[in-house]
C-alpha cells in the first residue's frame, strides 16, 4: 500500500512539496521529516485484523485495516504557497492510489508545532476483507 501511495504522490506532487522515497527513520535522534522540510515521508504500513461479522460457529468474517502514517514538516512562519495543493493531492491519493481490494478508505491529518516548524501528521486507512 505504501508503494501505491508513493507512486501516486510522486506523480502528482510536483511543486515545492515532494515525496521522499525513504522511510521516516531517525538520524542522531532526529526524524528525517524534521531534517528535511517540504518532504512527505510515508512510514511502513501497519495492519490490524478485527472482526467484521461475528458468527456463532467460529466462521467469523474479519477485516484487515491497513494504516499508513505520513509526515510533512514546513516552516511555520511563512505559509508554503503549495500547501493547499499538496494537501489536496495527499487527500486524493486515498482514492487515486491503486488499491482494488479496499471497500472503505479514509484519510485525515493533524498538525502540531515544533518551535518554528509545523508538522503535518497524516494517516491513510484502508479496510479490506481478511
Amino acid at each position: 500500500m505504501r508503494t501505491a501511495l508513493l507512486t501516486y504522490l510522486t506523480a502528482n506532487l510536483t511543486g515545492t512539496i515532494k515525496p521522499s522515497q525513504e522511510l521516516p527513520f531517525e538520524e542522531s535522534g532526529i526524524p528525517m521529516y524534521l531534517r528535511n522540510m517540504r518532504r512527505v515521508y510515508l512510514d511502513e504500513p501497519v495492519k490490524e485484523q478485527v472482526e467484521l461479522v461475528p458468527t456463532l460457529d467460529d466462521t467469523d468474517i474479519n477485516q484487515t485495516v491497513t494504516t499508513v502514517r505520513g509526515y510533512l514538516t514546513l516552516d511555520a512562519k511563512t505559509r508554503n504557497a503549495d500547501l493547499d495543493t499538496a494537501l489536496s493531492v495527499m487527500a486524493a491519493a486515498k482514492n487515486g492510489a491503486t488499491n482494488s481490494d479496499s471497500f472503505r478508505k479514509e484519510f485525515d491529518y493533524t498538525t502540531r508545532m515544533d518551535t518554528d516548524r509545523i508538522i503535518y501528521e497524516f494517516e491513510y486507512r484502508y479496510y479490506s476483507l481478511a
Binding site: 458468527t55 456463532l56 460457529d57 468474517i61
Partner: protein, 183 residues
C-alpha cells in the same frame, strides 16, 4: 446456576435442515435423519449423506420462538380475568452469512444440500430441522418440520459480505429430544 453455553467447539449452536420428504418418517424427524455420528471430543458431526443435510453456516444469532396464544374471559364473581393459553406459533429465526454452497446448493441432485437454502424457500419445500442450542454431544435438541421464509439477503458498502435473516415457520410442535449419537 448453570447456563446454556454456546461458545465452545462442543457446544456451538447448530441448525440442520433436510427435506421433510427425505426423513425416515416424514413429519416426525429423528436425530439420525440429520447425522449418523458425533465425535464426543471434537463435536464434529458425520452427516447423514443419504438425506443431504444443510448445516446452516455463519449463524449470527438465533431465536427459538414458542409463542402461545391466549384466550381470556371475565366472570362476575372474580375481580381478575381468567386466561388459558391456546396453540403456539412456533418458529426459528435468526441471521446468517451467505455461503454460496449452502445458499445456492451444489446443484447436483435433489437433496437439501443439492438445492440450497434459497431454492427450498423459493419452492416452498417442507423441511425437517434440528436446532441444537448447545451442540449435539449429549445435549437437548429440538426437531420439527416447517418452511423457510423471510430470506432477505443484504449487503452494504461498510460491510461488503452478504447476510440474510432466515425464519423457519414451524409446522406443529417442537420435538424435544436428548441427543444420543455422540461417541
Amino acid at each position: 446456576m448453570a447456563y446454556i453455553n454456546a461458545s465452545s467447539a462442543l457446544t456451538r449452536v447448530k441448525l440442520f435442515i433436510i427435506k421433510d420428504a427425505d426423513a425416515t418418517t416424514p413429519g416426525t424427524p429423528v436425530e439420525a435423519d440429520f447425522y449418523t455420528a458425533v465425535n464426543a471430543t471434537t463435536g464434529v458431526v458425520t452427516l447423514t449423506s443419504a438425506n443431504g443435510p444443510i448445516v446452516v453456516p455463519g449463524l449470527q444469532d438465533v431465536t427459538i420462538n414458542n409463542a402461545n396464544g391466549s384466550f381470556r374471559w371475565k366472570q362476575l364473581d372474580q375481580s381478575g380475568e381468567n386466561v388459558i393459553t391456546t396453540n403456539a406459533t412456533n418458529s426459528l429465526s435468526g441471521n446468517f452469512v451467505l455461503d454460496p454452497l449452502t445458499f445456492w446448493g451444489d446443484g447436483s441432485g435433489t437433496l437439501a444440500a443439492d438445492e440450497g437454502i434459497f431454492k427450498l424457500s423459493n419452492d416452498r419445500t417442507q423441511i425437517a430441522f434440528l436446532i441444537a442450542p448447545e451442540g449435539v454431544v449429549d445435549k437437548t435438541v429440538l426437531m420439527g418440520t416447517g418452511f423457510i421464509s423471510a430470506l432477505a439477503p443484504t449487503v452494504s458498502a461498510d460491510s461488503p459480505v452478504w447476510v440474510s435473516p432466515i425464519t423457519v415457520e414451524v409446522n406443529g410442535d417442537y420435538i424435544k429430544y436428548d441427543s444420543t449419537l455422540a461417541a
